[in-house]
Symmetry: C2
Subunit: 414 residues, 2 copies
């Protein structure tokens, strides 16, 4: 099945927002085994939207719309498509009841335009909106399938994951479903990973191996079409095994979780705790770890010691270690070790992790931009320090340093 995604909204054409819906839907459709051939963005203009519909109908079997289902006069996706198909709009009673109940519960006056959100194209299948008011629509006319989804991602995503996927699977009938698994990597860059797997990726037919770049990390999606899950598992397992033989030590999850979440999970399952001491990364390590819900049981706290005085005051690192002729300096292996050890002792945690280095844009202590030391202190074990030489701008260096620290923590916890 060939699909086209049409995102409707003048704010997209003005560059006021990024079309993340197109990515989300493309990924979701790929996982279902539906090929997306075109993505189109058109403004809140009935004529141009109908023009886009005519073009899409000529080259796709399935057209997904996002946006333009709201209450205002600018929201014209349903009207434009109904007009194009020569159909009327009819009221979807359950959606109308929901809208009325909401206004009543708020004691608010409902204006006529709110009714628009409960309209459907005649003959279409309603798609429940769990997190909003506008009902989605799915219908087949002739050889073409149409699906109308709301624009706000917090409404569109649950609708797609729920009722929309059920409808799409029913369309696919006898086609074999796609099964896939995500392998997430840390401690290895995209180009090194691709180089290690080049022949596997080139030779791939089934399962396919697709690389994804994720916020400072790399992932591979292994996909295959199969009649059933058992058959898919055998093939995916074999491919994962072939990949693992080469780069297995860098796979931290066969699931879509970030490395910080993998670290928090391991801390939790082993009932161990962590504290952090950061310099060049400025709190990013603490921020990523605490972005994992519930991490407060595992992450006890951290310090961001940007200045030598703070390294001395908060961590008790002697100033003679940090400055003056012959001192190792703040950016050194021994300072990284001390930072990790002191914060671990201070917090009485099982692990202490530290980062000190030069994020740029200019060098520091005469040391080059990108030089970072990463320390891991562990109760009852010798402290390890790793030297990193990172490429990129300030924010990339910070992110890569933090991801490297998380990878080393994950290794220590395994």
């Amino acid at each position: 099945m060939k699909a086209e995604i049409i995102a409707v909204g003048t704010e997209l054409l003005l560059g006021q927002i990024v079309n993340t819906n197109a990515q989300f839907l493309s990924q979701g459709l790929a996982e279902l085994g539906i090929d997306v051939y075109f993505q189109t963005v058109v403004g809140d203009n009935a004529g141009r939207l109908q023009e886009a519909i005519k073009i899409a109908r000529g080259r796709a079997d399935l057209i997904l719309f996002t946006g333009g289902l709201g209450p205002t006069q600018d929201d014209l996706t349903k009207d434009a498509l109904a007009d194009e198909l020569g159909r009327r709009l009819v009221l979807h009673e359950p959606s109308m009841a929901k809208i009325e109940a909401l206004f009543a519960s708020r004691g608010a006056h409902m204006v006529e335009s709110n009714r628009r959100q409960a309209l459907m194209i005649e003959g279409s299948h309603p798609l429940d909106n769990e997190t909003g008011l506008a009902v989605g629509n799915a219908l087949t006319v002739g050889q073409t399938h149409y699906m109308l989804l709301p624009g706000p991602p917090r409404e569109m995503k649950p609708m797609f994951e729920g009722p929309a996927k059920v409808w799409l699977r029913s369309l696919m009938g006898d086609e074999k479903p796609l099964y896939s698994r995500l392998l997430r990597f840390a401690g290895i860059g995209e180009s090194n990973l691709e180089a290690a797997l080049l022949d596997l990726i080139d030779k791939q037919t089934d399962p396919t191996i697709a690389p994804y770049a994720k916020e400072g990390e790399v992932a591979l999606r292994i996909s295959t079409k199969a009649s059933n899950e058992a058959e898919a598992l055998i093939r995916i397992d074999a491919t994962v095994e072939a990949i693992s033989q080469r780069v297995g030590q860098f796979i931290y999850a066969q699931d879509d979780i970030a490395i910080e979440e993998a670290v928090v999970r391991l801390l939790r399952s082993s009932m161990r705790t962590l504290a952090s001491a950061e310099s060049c990364s400025g709190g990013l390590l603490a921020e990523l770890i605490t972005s994992v819900p519930g991490s407060s049981s595992e992450f006890l706290g951290g310090v961001v010691t940007y200045t030598n005085k703070m390294k001395n005051q908060l961590l008790g690192i002697p100033l003679s270690q940090l400055e003056g002729p012959g001192a190792p300096g703040a950016i050194s292996e021994s300072t990284a070790a001390m930072m990790a050890e002191r914060v671990q002792a201070l917090a009485s945690s099982d692990f202490g992790v530290s980062l000190t280095g030069v994020a740029g844009p200019s060098e520091s202590e005469g040391k080059a931009v990108g030089l970072v030391y990463l320390g891991i202190a562990q109760l009852g074990k010798p402290t390890e320090v790793h030297e990193l030489k990172l490429m990129g701008n300030r924010s990339t260096i910070r992110l890569r340093a933090v991801k490297a620290a998380l990878y080393r923590l994950w290794q220590a916890l395994k």
Copy 2:
């Protein structure tokens, strides 16, 4: 002038990456006064790309392509357009010399495919690539203008901002150029801002007022077409004045900078320093401030005290304040004040800022998700504490709490 943006790349159709290029270019074109009517995404497939070109030619005067200028066989934008226009590809000597010099300097062997990056469509104007190897192309055939830009944002953006904009301005000839100014807001949400300015936004014809949502902040772009800058300034100033009369206290910059950068600039110009004590925000405040290059002179350091024990050990807050029957607790006005005061004293900084609250997903100390206290301690002034009741998920609450703290700091510094 009507424009269409065609992004070329199968990775976009698979949802492996987000089409941020379309947003960047749409915004840039809007600022030049060029209307974007359609955005299209097509895969690395010559036939479908040529089909998209034919459609775009029928509805746009200017077609901008991004992607597909690289060295591999998948990179076929230039070939497909040349073929469609019945033109040859010719070598751009300066680009070729640059590629050869780069390979020579690295002692690397240049493969034939690298030459492809120096090819241009016959009769086109080269667009220099400051940050990469693939040369851009701009040409006019009949009534249609074409521009080919590379796909990687770090190459595309400088090319667009530099040589591409020069070429686009030359196309516009007598058309009056667009002048615009960005107003950045903090301490006010998008809906409240729009409500306060509703009649101004509705009545707008010239200058126009367009709202933008930026990472936890709101911005307005004021734009007008004028014969010269002086004329534009008069009109923009009058609109800014009208907006300021209503919501002036929330405008922290008439320039595209984030609130953390505005705070660092004010700290720098007043030669004052800052330290932070965070609980619920987990280091995000420190991270945002230190993301500003050179902030190490103004930001001395911070603590992330997730547990009561860390609040006690690092900040010396009595445990009797934090826990036990009748204690105010960690999430309280008085704890926020103490955290700000203690970290300011510890760092000997001019300002101390603190955040303690419930980011969710579950409540804490019996206090509701979204309740956050924000403290600002200032040498020689009474400490201020603000209570926030924030909506959203964990990451939204954290971001909004941090942006609110930055706004209050900005106010204290003004």
